[in-house]
């Protein structure tokens, strides 16, 4: 699988933040989907946004300064 097709997930402080980010990313044309946080990344019961690995930088650009905290991890 090419690196660009590896999915990445964006982790947030809370579901409210994830929903806010989903809205911002969709408005910017970045494809994303809310999924439960994979167990190996966090024991938190929350949700995260799955994006295409190739969209990592774009997503970070959209969210920086608009959300206090988020983290992007490759799956």
């Amino acid at each position: 699988m090419a690196a660009s097709e590896t999915p990445a997930v964006i982790l947030f402080e809370s579901v409210s933040h994830a929903l806010h980010a989903e809205k911002l990313l969709k408005a910017a044309g970045v494809k994303c989907k809310l999924i439960p946080v994979p167990r190996h990344l966090s024991s938190d019961c929350g949700v995260c946004l799955r994006i295409d690995g190739a969209d990592r930088d774009r997503a970070a650009g959209v969210l920086t300064d608009r959300l206090d905290y988020f983290d992007i991890a490759l799956l």
Partner: protein, 385 residues
Amino acid sequence: MKMIYLDNAATSFPKPPAMMEEMNAFQREIGANPGRSGHGRSIDAGRVLYEAREALAALFNIDDPLSVVLTKNSTEALNIVLLGALAPGDHVVTTSMEHNSVMRPLRYLASRGVCLSVIGCSPQGELDPADLQKALRKNTKVVVMTHASNVTGTIQPVAEVGRIVREREGVMFCVDAAQTAGALPIDVEQMNIDLLAVTGHKSLYGPQGTGALFIRKGLEKKIAPLMMGGTGSRSEFEIQPDFLPDKYESGTPNALGFAGLCAGLKFIAGHSIAAVREKEKQITAAFLKRLYDGCPEATVYGPADADRQTAVVSFTVRGVTPSDAALHFEEKYGILCRPGLHCAPSAHRTLGTFPQGTVRFSFGFFNAPGDAAMAADAVRDLLKG
């Protein structure tokens, strides 16, 4: 007998049909615990809350929906601010026209060493911003005041006070908009409001058990939460999250209620606050005029000017106690109103109506224009028995 509901200042009635439909649909089709579990329905429930934040943010010109904390009413919102921000030695300023949801927490805090200044208002209930300015001290931490009185409808000069408070570094300006959110334009930027408490069940046309608190970003560092517990975030930690809005939203929220509030907010936005205001102003003006022309025995408290008040009118009729009058209005005309002290004893002292109180008629979006005349004529006929 037809019912004429004139108690909209207590809670609006009826509600837009869409409010009930949205609540029904939520419970049938979503029904999950928002933000806890990560499955599709839980996310959908979370979306309902997010939409409520977003719609509230749009209505009050709040730039970040996440700075809108969802509460059960404005009382909770005000208690979060007052109990969370004020410590012994701090100074807080308020007005003599406040509702008990402000006054009682402040009296409690005063008994615990917080310094409290209550600024007197005119006999019409109007605050002179200069009086408030004079009361500010070095250790003033919060200025809290109502946007409009629930007793007389008197609209307070919130924007002017906001300008005064903005010039004082470190002072937070908190507005109780229980009576005005949805009924008058509110812009937290233009009015320099740091903390805005609103309730969902009055002029936002949502169900009871919904409310919100806007907290200007950064101020969450200065305000301790009232309750702590599960938030669906940071579950691996045993300390309360310190960020907005989760810091103040412990426990399973009233998602069902917020589904209804979303419909109420859409209803208000669809009509526009300007149109709602115009409609309520006209009915208030018509009532005041007919009451003046037809009933010289009635005394109206407050501005008695529809431009300077919300759709709330307080009055007494010579020789009749408010409770007798209210009973008569209900039995003879089907008019539902509120007699007495309206949860604001110091406001009644300001108006000179303590302890007997007043009769309060409060109009809403769903009152027919003809209700104003019927209500005024009912007052006129009161003395005829």
